[in-house]
Amino acid sequence: MRKWLALAFLILLGFFLAKITSAFPFGVESWGVSKHYVDKGIEENRGSNLVTSIVVNYRGFDTLGEVTVLFLAATALAFLLATCRCRRRYERWEASLIVKAASETLYPLLILFGAYIFIHGHLTPGGGFQGGTVIASAVMLMLLAHFTFHPNHKALSTLEGLAGMSFVLIGFAGLIWGGSFLANNIIPLGQWNRLFSAGVIPLIYVAVGFKVGFELSGLITDMMKTIKEE
């Protein structure tokens, strides 16, 4: 009964969603405001990756919000789990030597790779969020492989906070020297398709990358933390 009712609701909802979607034919060109991003993006930002240009510059404020959301989630999670008497329900095995050795080898490489991704955010696919996640995956690997691995939580949150603040500070620098919050033109834009180009975009993405990386690492650590079985 419940199922059928739910299905009926969903079919109706689906009908309306399809009705709206069908107004926009698939794969057909229809430019809105993003025509400007595409045609003027290189000229205005010098970043090859247009998505990055949008994410960090044209709609940089969204990204600041996005970083805030992630920060918020990590904070909320730590806040909630601080009082959680959550116990691990399943037995945890010691990882094998191979896994341990491999993870130790991969750990710095993964961090380096993450850094590479967000440093090249304005040139290649990927950016702060992806790079940050890769960094977090390195930490996760260590956490899984080693019982004794405990990232310094205080340091993580400090670095993460500093990264977040530097994002805001770059924004304010834009407000002071560039005329508007998060303005891109406060340092030379440089040349297209070069590492040192695209104004503050790489700086912001580095900040975002570190922030996301530390944040997610902290988040995973918080979640894996357990209260000893009494």
């Binding site: 709206i20 405001v33 909320a76 400090t158 906070g161 834009g174």
Partner: protein
């Protein structure tokens, strides 16, 4: 000027900074937290002031990232947005203070970050000019809220957070999808840009669907019925500080966005959407709250209802078919509603945090001995219930009067909801103010400040809005009301308050002197001021027991009555009427029976809102201007007056309200306040109905009056409580007065006005005497009195004369009134009414005798042996009120002459056809009597008898009352030989069926019926996540189907 982006940037930076600091220096984290909130508050205040002062004329658009919109994101901050930010940060600041005092949840750094980001998110929602950015800020707000709700240590918090999370995710998915579709359809995400593209209105069905998708997402956040179960759970389950921030600030930000979205995406069906969802949410919230035992959930229902009202108002506000003047008024109403509700709810939720236990019963006694608590609670409740002078009153009035006539059902809906609101809020009030004084928590700073804001804003709000509706409120009366409130400052000493009140009243008489003119207002004004003054003198005894709010409230009642009679427009009459009602409510609430005050509140509110509805229907607000079509306005307006007169079947509040109110106040209530109903009915008959037209309605009123007189007399006969007996008697007498007014003939009016004054004299005298007696004896239960004639001869004498006057026996003043009334009845030819009236007067003798017999005659009870005569002030007032009874008895012309002048000032009436012969007799067509002769005759007889007794008393042997040896029996102990108990039992057997409490049962049945419906209705909130989610889906389907026009 502060750039709004700075507010957001600084708040974000300090949120990150607190994240670091918490690990190193907790104290500094706290400092940064508070400093940030203060900074935000100041900064948004500066922006708002910029708009107020005119420095900023247009909304400021702040570009971000260096590109102008629509390329980049912008903030769009206008007056409304700036005001909203001020509101958000004020509520956040108050909440934060409360949190600090109460103790932050641990780890506190995280809590502060979430709190800061929640207020930041709400501000972002308000400021942003971009739809996708809006989505981001909605998510920030939501996630912070989920976290804070879940972290609450209260019961059910987790569950509430989970439901909130599920429903909130669905809602934001709708918004996200809608925004992306909007981008595809319009090629832009910027609000202004899109609005510009859609300037001509939405024509395509797809765009309508997209708009509705966004709106239904927002409606979830706006807690629309029936998808607000999650919100109620959150209100009930979460930490009150978080709830205050959500209900007081975040939801209001969502409302602003809702308003903006609907404004930028002009949907033709928005009006009906807002009306349907606003209206149903409003009514459902107000009525479902009736059965709610959990106070926080009750506040939740109230919040939901207020949001419904706001949505309803949004529909009218955005309806371009309305006159711009009305839309401005509705805009003002929306602003007031938001301001009012935010601070009142903040205060109430934070107060709830101070009460141990969550049920209504746990609030018992919290108002006692906690002046701060009582102040915050009372002012917040008054604000939300829209009682003048609070801002909520103006919100309601502006909204109602801006709604065009063809939507008068919406007005009815608003008023019915407002009445339902009074029922449950004052139930809580009743519980909180009764019982043993209870220690409530001391964390009262924030609730106090937020309710103080409500109170402090009153003069400003009145200054702005009473002009907007052009209500000329009598300035002198307002001044006097202000002074009256000032009497509270003398609260350290009751005698001083008493003297101060007397002085204020004297000053009031002096100030209002020019208004004592021979017209209806002047007539009643004299009654109010002189009567009120005389009764004030008698309030002195027992004043130690009086709360320090007694005298201010008393004076407010008196002066608001002056305001009522001096009003030149119906609306200002309504304002003063409400002030009078609610200040008298406070006074009644000071007595023993709290249920009485509650009933009084409900009936008065019902009457008042009916009156407001009637005024809304009038073509002109000025009294006596404009032809009034139809009977409805007259009926609605007179309902308020009939309630105040306690005319059957609206009388059930009266017995306990009179019987259990503070003894010092009852004389005023019965002697003068009930006459305000007479005044109002007179206004209705003269100015709305027309004296000579609408005979059927007046005939109906006549029956109401006479039946009230009959049944109340009967009830008085069987009443064993002195004050309640007098209460019934009072209501019965006012029934006669109503009958006279209903007659609509000069003679009838003459009788009524005469009786109005005369009834004041003797009934006030009786109640004052009763207060004195009760003060001495300590009970108002008749069977416990008796024989008091020996202890209180003066009071006995006064009571005797009052009762003779009441019974209408010559030679005292009562006879003239009765004689005039019967003459008028016979002249008019209302035969059946006359018969019933005769019957009722005859019955009245029974209770008159009962008073004398049970109180003064017979055996003195043992415990009353040491009783003394009533206190001096009471005795003074007794004498003061006694004299007119005698003087008027001898010279009725002293009163009838001014009444003639009053009558000739009224349209459609002329002086009564009474001739005064050579002596002081009065002659009508039906006969005549000579008052002076009667008085001399009776007084002579009395004196002769007195002299006779004086001479013979020397030979009388006096024995103690237990000495009954001469009757042949020797009592062994003090036997009760006094038949105060069950005096008319045999009589009850004959006519007892007539006083079967039918009316009470009917009202109770209605109350319980509504309760049962509410109980049934609120079962839709099953508490089940699946169900809540299904409601959301179902409702969005309905919205998409009905309002888009897509088939």
């Amino acid at each position: 000027m502060v750039n709004p982006i700075v507010i957001i940037g600084i708040t974000l930076a300090s949120a990150f900074f607190i994240g670091i600091l918490q690990a190193y220096a907790k104290v500094w984290a706290r400092v940064i937290f508070i400093l940030t909130l203060v900074f935000d508050l100041l900064a948004s205040g500066i922006v708002f002031y910029g708009f107020l002062s005119g420095e900023l004329a247009r909304p400021i658009s702040v570009k971000i990232g260096g590109f102008p919109p629509p390329i980049g994101i912008n903030l769009l901050v206008g007056k409304a947005e700036a005001a909203m930010a001020v509101l958000i940060f004020s509520v956040a600041f108050l909440g934060a203070i409360h949190w600090f005092v109460k103790g932050l949840p641990q780890p506190e750094g995280k809590a502060m970050v979430l709190f800061l980001l929640l207020s930041l998110g709400a501000t972002g929602i308000t400021f942003t000019g971009d739809f996708f950015n809006l989505f981001v800020f909605i998510e920030i707000t939501s996630i912070a809220a989920y976290g804070l709700v879940a972290s609450s240590r209260t019961k059910g918090a987790l569950e509430a957070a989970f439901k909130y999370m599920v429903v909130g995710s669905i809602s934001s998915t709708f918004i996200l999808l809608g925004v992306v579709f909007l981008y595809k359809a319009t090629g832009s995400l910027n609000m202004m840009d899109i609005a510009g593209k859609l300037l001509g209105g939405i024509s395509s069905a797809v765009l309508a669907l997209i708009t509705l998708l966004i709106l239904s997402g927002l409606l979830v956040e706006l807690e629309v019925f029936p998808i607000n179960g999650w919100a109620l759970d959150v209100y009930q389950g979460a930490d009150p500080v978080v709830v205050a921030l959500l209900a007081g600030a975040a939801v209001k930000a969502f409302y602003l966005v809702f308003l903006k979205t609907a404004g930028f995406l002009p949907l033709s069906s928005f009006f009906s959407l807002a009306l349907i969802f606003g209206g149903s949410t409003y009514l459902a919230g107000q009525f479902f709250a009736w059965r709610q035992r959990d106070v926080r959930r009750l506040f939740g229902y109230s919040s939901v209802a207020q949001l419904g009202l706001l949505i309803l108002a949004a529909g009218f506000f955005l309806n371009s078919a309305l006159a711009s003047q009305s839309r401005l008024m509705i805009g003002a109403a929306i602003v007031l509603l938001i301001f009012n509700h935010s601070f009142a709810k903040t205060s109430l939720f934070l107060l709830a945090d101070n009460v141990k236990g969550s049920n209504v019963e746990d609030w018992a006694g919290t108002l006692r001995g906690n002046p701060l608590f009582a102040f915050s609670f009372t002012s917040s409740v008054f604000s939300i219930a829209g009682i003048p002078p609070m801002a909520g009153f103006w919100a309601k009035v502006l909204l109602i009067f801006a709604i065009p006539r063809q939507y008068s059902w919406a007005v009815a809906l608003i008023l019915i909801g407002a009445l339902a609101e009074v029922v449950y809020y004052f139930h809580l009030y009743r519980v909180a103010s009764q019982g043993e004084g209870k220690e409530a928590g001391g964390n009262l700073f924030s609730p106090f400040v937020s309710s103080l804001l409500l109170v402090v804003s009153v003069p400003m709000v009145w200054g702005i809005f009473s002009r907007k509706l052009s209500i000329p409120l009598n300035g002198q009366v307002l001044l006097l009301l202000g002074i009256s409130l000032g009497i509270y400052l003398l609260g350290f000493s009751r005698p001083l308050q008493w003297l101060g009140s007397l002085a204020t009243l004297g000053y009031g008489i002096y100030v209002l002197l020019p208004h004592f003119k021979p017209d209806l207002s002047g007539f009643f004004l004299a009654l109010v001021l002189f009567g009120g003054g005389a009764l004030l003198i008698a309030t002195y005894p027992g004043s130690k027991k009086l709360p320090s709010t007694f005298y201010p409230a008393y004076l407010v009642v008196v002066f608001s009555m002056a305001g009522v009679v001096l009003s030149s427009t119906w609306l200002s009459l309504f304002v003063f009427w409400e002030v009078m009602t609610w200040s008298s409510f406070l006074l009644i609430n000071m007595g023993e029976g709290k249920k009485a005050a509650w009933l009084y509140a409900i009936f008065s509110a019902a009457g008042a809102y009916a009156m407001l509805g009637g005024i809304y229907l009038l073509p002109s607000l000025r009294i006596g201007v404009g032809k009034v079509p139809g009977l409805l306005p007259a009926v609605l307006i007179s309902l308020a007056f009939l309630v105040k007169m306690a005319t059957a079947p609206l009388h059930i509040w009266a017995r306990d309200a009179y019987g259990e109110s503070a003894h010092q106040f009852t004389p005023l209530l019965s002697g003068i306040m009930s006459k305000m109903g007479v005044f109002g009915t007179a206004l209705v008959v003269v100015y709305i109905l027309g004296v000579s037209s609408n005979p059927v309605f007046r005939y109906f009123l006549g029956w109401l009056g006479v039946l009230t007189a009959f049944f109340m007399t009967l009830l008085a006969v069987f009443q064993d409580d002195l004050k309640k007996l007098l209460a019934y008697s009072s209501v019965a007498q006012v029934g006669y007065i109503l009958l006279g007014v209903a007659l609509g003939t000069p003679l009838g009016w003459s009788a009524s006005l005469y009786h109005t004054v005369n009834h004041f004299f003797f009934k006030a005298l009786l109640f004052v005497a009763a207060a004195g007696i009760i003060y001495r004896v300590g009970t108002s239960y008749l069977p416990q009195m008796g024989g008091l004639i020996r202890r209180m001869p003066l009071t006995f004498f006064a009571t005797l004369l009052a009762i003779i006057s009441l019974a209408g026996i010559p030679p005292l003043s009562g006879f003239a009134g009765k004689w005039l009334l019967y003459s008028a009845l016979i002249e008019k030819g209302w035969i059946f009414i006359t018969v019933v009236a005769f019957l009722a007067s005859t019955l009245a003798f029974l209770y008159c005798f009962k008073i004398l017999h049970s109180v003064f005659l017979g055996q003195l009870q043992e415990e009353n042996f040491n009783v003394k005569e009533v206190p001096l002030t009471v005795a003074l007032v007794e004498v003061l009120l006694l004299l007119p009874l005698i003087i008027l008895g001898a010279f009725p012309r002293l009163l009838l002459d001014p009444i003639d002048k009053v009558l000739s000032s009224l349209p459609g009436l002329s002086p009564a056809p009474i001739h005064y012969g050579r002596v002081m007799g009065a002659v009508t067509k039906l006969g005549h009597w000579n008052a002076l002769f009667l008085m001399v005759f009776f007084a002579g007889s009395f004196l002769i008898a007195l002299v006779f007794f004086a001479i013979t008393s020397a030979r009388i042997r006096k024995v103690g009352q237990l000495d009954v040896g001469y009757s042949g029996e020797v009592p062994r102990s003090a036997e009760d030989l006094h038949f105060g108990y069950g005096l008319y039992e045999h009589f009850r057997k004959a006519v007892g069926w007539l006083i079967y409490p039918l009316v009470t049962k009917v009202w109770k049945g209605i109350y319980e019926g509504i309760n049962a419906l509410a109980e049934m209705g609120r079962r839709i909130y099953t508490g089940d996540v699946n169900t809540y989610a299904a409601y959301v889906i179902a409702l969005s389907i309905i919205i998409l189907y009905i309002f888009s026009g897509v088939k």
